[in-house]
């Protein structure tokens, strides 16, 4: 007999296959721990270190230029304000274009040549390194002073972030609309609704959840981006004042963290941790909201 048919049914840990199996399970557990641990350590460090810096004036004060005061680096008020403004500028460009583009792909073009070309382009665009978006905006806006002769500005920063948001918004809109049942479209068309009405009143509301989720995630990602801002929005030690400041350099949490982390002064380093805590909290809250929201359905 070439088979081992005499084996009893009992589990024998010493069998080669069982040793392999246990080893395999063990390795996957160890790998999981190894891959999660650094990130948990990082998060807890940010929260502990950042929490010691939190005080009332943190959000209301301006940061002090490095070296001015060795003990006090000031607050992150204008950086938080700047992050919100830049993200708003980016969203007001990327969301309409992205949702519109997604609508075109899902509702009009469907599977045509143009649609597959744009979908391919969306994939390529989402793979473009974020710093390249900064280089692009530097080349087309900052260095040419094309917008009212201004160089580094909130507007330039916002536009560079919008390029990074665009693929995510298009993709989620396209995919969200594709999930809407065709019966719904047919139903609306059969009572005489135009395509425009069908989309705006029937299919878009039906797909609102995945689309909003995608937009929130895109915003969360944009809020944490640094690379495209360091030579488009630059940094500022002053408050943003509407509307003139939109054409001037602007502070942001992420650039503040980058700049102050590399300063040799302890006070500035501490402020970077405080800014990290605020930034991470904003981003994680946005992510958790989308997660909870997705779970509810």
């Amino acid at each position: 007999m070439t088979f081992n048919n005499n084996s009893r049914l009992k589990y024998k840990a010493s069998l080669k296959r069982n040793i392999y199996n246990s080893l395999f399970t063990f390795i996957s557990v160890v790998f999981t721990i190894l891959s999660i641990l650094p990130l948990i350590l990082l998060l807890s460090y940010v929260f502990i270190k950042g929490a010691t810096q939190i005080n009332l004036s943190l959000l209301s004060n301006l940061p002090e230029p490095p070296g001015d005061d060795l003990l006090n680096a000031g607050g992150i008020g204008n950086a938080l304000q700047g992050t919100i403004i830049i993200t708003l500028i980016a969203s007001s460009i990327a969301v309409p274009i992205g949702v519109g583009g997604g609508i075109y792909l899902a509702e009009y073009a469907r599977n045509g040549k143009f649609a597959s070309f744009i979908r391919f382009g969306t994939n390529v665009l989402s793979g473009v390194p974020s710093i390249i978006a900064g280089v692009f905006i530097y080349g087309i806006i900052v260095s040419t002073k094309i917008i009212f002769n201004s160089t580094y500005s909130a507007l330039a920063g916002g536009i560079s972030l919008s390029i990074l948001m665009l693929p995510t918004v298009i993709k989620t809109t396209d995919e969200g609309l594709k999930l809407v049942s065709d019966d719904l479209r047919k139903g609306a068309l059969s009572v005489g609704a135009s395509k425009f009405l069908t989309i705006t009143q029937v299919t878009l509301p039906a797909a609102i959840k995945p689309i909003t989720t995608g937009i929130i995630l895109a915003i969360a990602r944009a809020a944490g981006e640094t690379a495209p801002l360091i030579f488009t929005a630059l940094f500022s030690f002053y408050w943003f004042e509407a509307p003139t400041s939109i054409l001037e350099p602007i502070a942001s949490l992420s650039v503040l963290i980058y700049n102050f982390a590399l300063e040799p002064y302890e006070a500035q380093n501490q402020l970077a941790w405080a800014a990290s805590l605020i930034l991470v909290s904003i981003i994680l809250i946005m992510n958790i909201i989308t997660k909870l929201w997705a779970r509810k359905s």
Partner: protein, 339 residues
């Protein structure tokens, strides 16, 4: 779904209900003043279509514009240094000599090493999440955690790398240098910022991508294949290695290449910890450069030929990442099994 239909169907209902009540004998035509679509509605309809068409085209416009702007910006440097730019690593704004070899080497070496660390860890984690080693609830928590951690901005990872990770690991690096210093990768004394900590922080960054995509690909493998393997008496490890992983390989490879693309272009965390030195060294403990960290470091203060050279470097980076992303697309199609 019903709720969304209401605004449309609701109106019609009210109308049809009214017919028998008030004007039953008459034709209901008079109730529908808008039987003929007004011109404005048609304008809105076609206008909307044209608008969203334009918006979709913006993707192509942006993409082409990025290439054109970066290419035009780099023409000056390209004509001046040509392919020598790729093989030399002088970077001297004073003598106006530029070569990106060290940065290109750094970009590739950090990405490949971080991939070598993150791929086994990520796939191992994905297997752990998709198998019934722990109760489903716990696995879901780990899975969500991985996704949340992917959302942490890279600048914060860089901050952590500078102040926590690198100081913590330096004794270990020093030990490796002492014991294995004869290997060229470990030949220099660890002095703080350098290629090795950059590799580690990059692997932490791309781990969630590999984990999430591998997890999704593993979940997509039909249950009947798992059944088939268990049915002929395979253990869990045999089932995963021989059946499940091969069936999910296209998605996993795509995820790995996507992570590679991300690693190649990743800027902030690397810039903050790699040491930013254009001196070429094989040792992982010495400071180095990547293309993106060079851009982050110098672009703000550069002018003239330096800007053009940085644009040239950007162009190279774009070509590399584009190639990787296209390869990802192609491989996913190529490797996908029929089942």
């Amino acid at each position: 779904m019903k709720g969304t239909l209401n605004p449309l169907l609701g109106k019609k209902h009210i109308m049809s209900n009214q017919i028998p009540k008030s004007k039953a004998p008459n034709l209901p035509e008079s109730l529908y003043k808008l039987r003929q679509r007004p011109h404005s509605e048609k304008v809105v309809d076609t206008g909307f279509k044209d608008a969203v068409y334009l918006m979709a085209s913006m993707v192509a416009v942006f993409l082409i514009a990025i290439f054109v702007v970066v290419f035009i910006g780099s023409i000056e440097s390209m004509s001046r240094y040509g392919l020598k730019f790729l093989t030399t690593s002088n970077w001297n704004p004073i003598t106006d000599e530029y070569g990106a070899f060290a940065a290109i080497y750094g970009t590739i070496i950090t990405s490949i090493f971080s991939l070598a660390i993150a791929v086994p860890l990520g796939i191992g984690t994905a297997i752990f999440i998709t198998e019934d080693i722990l109760p489903r609830k716990l696995r879901e928590i780990i899975s969500v955690l991985v996704e949340l951690l992917a959302a942490i901005p890279s600048v914060i990872l860089g901050l952590w790398a500078i102040f926590v990770m690198e100081p913590f690991l330096r004794p270990l690096f020093a030990l490796i240098h002492k014991k294995l210093g004869w290997i060229f990768f470990f030949s220099s004394e660890p002095i703080g910022a350098g290629i090795a900590p950059a590799i580690l922080i990059l692997s932490i960054m791309i781990l969630p991508i590999i984990t999430a995509i591998s997890r999704d690909s593993l979940n997509q493998v039909p249950f009947r294949l798992r059944q088939a393997a268990y049915g002929v008496g395979a253990t869990r490890s045999t089932t995963i290695i021989n059946i499940i992983l091969p069936a999910a390989i296209s998605g996993i490879t795509g995820g790995i290449l996507l992570a590679l693309g991300r690693a190649l272009g990743e800027t902030m965390a690397v810039t903050m910890i790699i040491g930013n030195s254009n001196n070429f060294s094989l040792s992982l403990f010495s400071p180095g450069y990547t293309i993106s960290s060079m851009l982050a470091n110098q672009f703000g203060e550069a002018d003239g030929n330096q800007v053009s050279s940085l644009m040239y470097a950007s162009f190279i980076l774009m070509i590399i990442t584009l190639t990787v992303n296209l390869a990802a697309n192609w491989l996913v199609k190529r490797l996908s099994l029929k089942y």
